[in-house]
Symmetry: D3
Subunit: 137 residues, 6 copies
């Protein structure tokens, strides 16, 4: 039997500042522009979590969507929603919070949490309505 991918979309709102702590404010402003603003800015992030597996014969489900939602909420959303990503998210400590780095750390938070037979397949993270990142591990 073939494998199917299922995707659940979740939202969170957070503040961040994209800067390199080894650089001066001038250098950060030159490289990152407004994204390096020391007073922070923020986004309504839109996260799509895709997992893959063979549907269970008894339920027709790769994974129960309520379980998928709960897992992502407990491992990711509750840590970042209405938070400052630079200051308050332990698993982002020491990481420049670009969308690229952020999605890779979210992957690490999730990849080992799925039941047998279900694999994390892709994360898509929209930072604004105009740009997103995709990560497949």
């Amino acid at each position: 039997m073939s494998s199917v991918k299922i995707t659940r979309e979740l939202h969170f709102s957070a503040a961040h500042r994209v800067f390199n702590p080894e650089w001066t404010d001038e250098k950060n402003s030159e490289v990152f522009g407004g994204c390096a603003n020391p007073n922070w800015h923020g986004h309504d992030y839109r996260l799509l979590v895709t997992v893959e597996g063979t549907p269970d014969r008894k339920t027709g489900f790769v994974m129960d969507l309520k379980d998928l939602k709960s897992l992502v909420e407990s491992r990711v959303i509750q840590d970042v929603d209405h938070r400052n990503i630079n200051l308050e998210v332990s698993w982002m400590e020491g990481v420049i919070p670009s969308t690229e780095n952020f999605v890779m750390e979210i992957w690490n938070r999730l990849v080992r949490e799925f039941p047998e037979g279900v694999e994390l397949s892709k994360l898509t993270l929209w930072e604004t309505p105009r740009h997103c990142v995709e990560y497949e591990g």
Copy 2:
């Protein structure tokens, strides 16, 4: 010459009930929650059909989009739109109508219907604005 994918989006509205007929109502309600409601519930499904091929030298088309739309309408949409998926769709008989199982049966309805040189590449089926399934055969 390289191959290109083209995707057409179609919509339909249907009722269904996700339950396992081998189980009691209690067990179904425990596993599937509101999705097992014996009085049915329903969705506005959004189906994206992706086919792949090399554009024809004389038309620039992988496949005429009107033909693609007609094919999906005649093989899928007219069977399911404003229908009860459990009771009225012959090719879903005996299948638990989870989104996963549903997209695999839609694949079976379409995969052998394309002209030479055109292959069904992917189906994406959104059951609500918050979750979808993807199937590549």
Copy 3:
């Protein structure tokens, strides 16, 4: 100080059948087409609730959005989500569940529930991504 409108969007999935019980199945099918299917069909409804008032001097809020969400969930969403509107919603009994009638009954469920100084201003109910109804009481 001027009044401001705030809107919260909520979703629910339900089954229904649009038919007039005083008519024969033939007549219903003639008038309502697939919407009268005796085996039901369903939708992912999208409800936008708009209330109006003067922002409170101490909070800057017309009404706390969490309270607005809770109110609509307890008075409307929990009654209709994953339900059959014809069979299971007491406040729709004896009402033909057209989108027009449905939005007026949702209005009746909500209009007297707001705190002093806050008025229900408009309900917008999308039944499919292609059509909606608006009601202002």
Copy 4:
């Protein structure tokens, strides 16, 4: 000749904290929840600016959309995009940055700036994909 409304949508990303400086942190947290987080959070705001007037006989325009965009960018967007609304926006000083208060101050920034015959009709400000405010002065 009748009047027509034209609307231009613009986006910006900002950080903020919704709190009342006359209250303790405990009281703020109790009333505003995560929105009062002293470490800030943020949003991708979506602003729709609607103006009204009679189309000019020579251009068919109520107002040139490029002019409308420039006006909103110079009076609003450049002040708030990638900024901290509490700390860096002079015209929000002393104002609790709820969406309600924010939209009223944006109105004040724009209302007297339009050419003769064009009137600001409505502002719609989406703070998240799930809620918005509307203001008509």
Copy 5:
């Protein structure tokens, strides 16, 4: 009994050129920029037609949505879809095809066509995903 508004969304794709035939090409280019390009440009227009009335006691409908769709298709869509608005639409002859003028002419095509008890309430015409016009007669 109160009145309810119902809205149907329809799409069409067309070419146009916004220019004043009394002006030189230079003057047109100065005023209208790329919109005056003599070689045309085009849009995927999104038209929302809103009508108002009291729901019929026997159907629960203000107006059958299939009838509303047919009416707009026969009076508007079939004239403009995959057409050049300046050259091929008789009821736009002599009219500068700004979105403002266009929506007023669409209004004239529709306003007298509704059955008794149903009134055209509003037209909303999106020319791009970033701007729209609204007209209420």
Copy 6:
């Protein structure tokens, strides 16, 4: 370190006519329908450009999004926005402007322009809100 994909969405509005110059008007109309209209029609194209690479250790970026936007604007958007694709785009000369052929030529405009370590991964081009093409080279 793993590679990440980043996507930027851009828009443009253009006119075109899909026809084969080796055929008669009758044959073109038979094959292409309204798309072959000699008076042109047009679309609001939505282009998603996806590039892939390993995030830079010092910035956390695969590529600066402002640079990605500038590159696509200078190589593609400024050539096609508010233009006639058949008549005014030098790199579409002699090419039937189907969405399939169009996306392949946009690929050719972009593929060799990226800095070392960054690769063009996919282009997705929506011609209407209902259909798109995808190309991966």
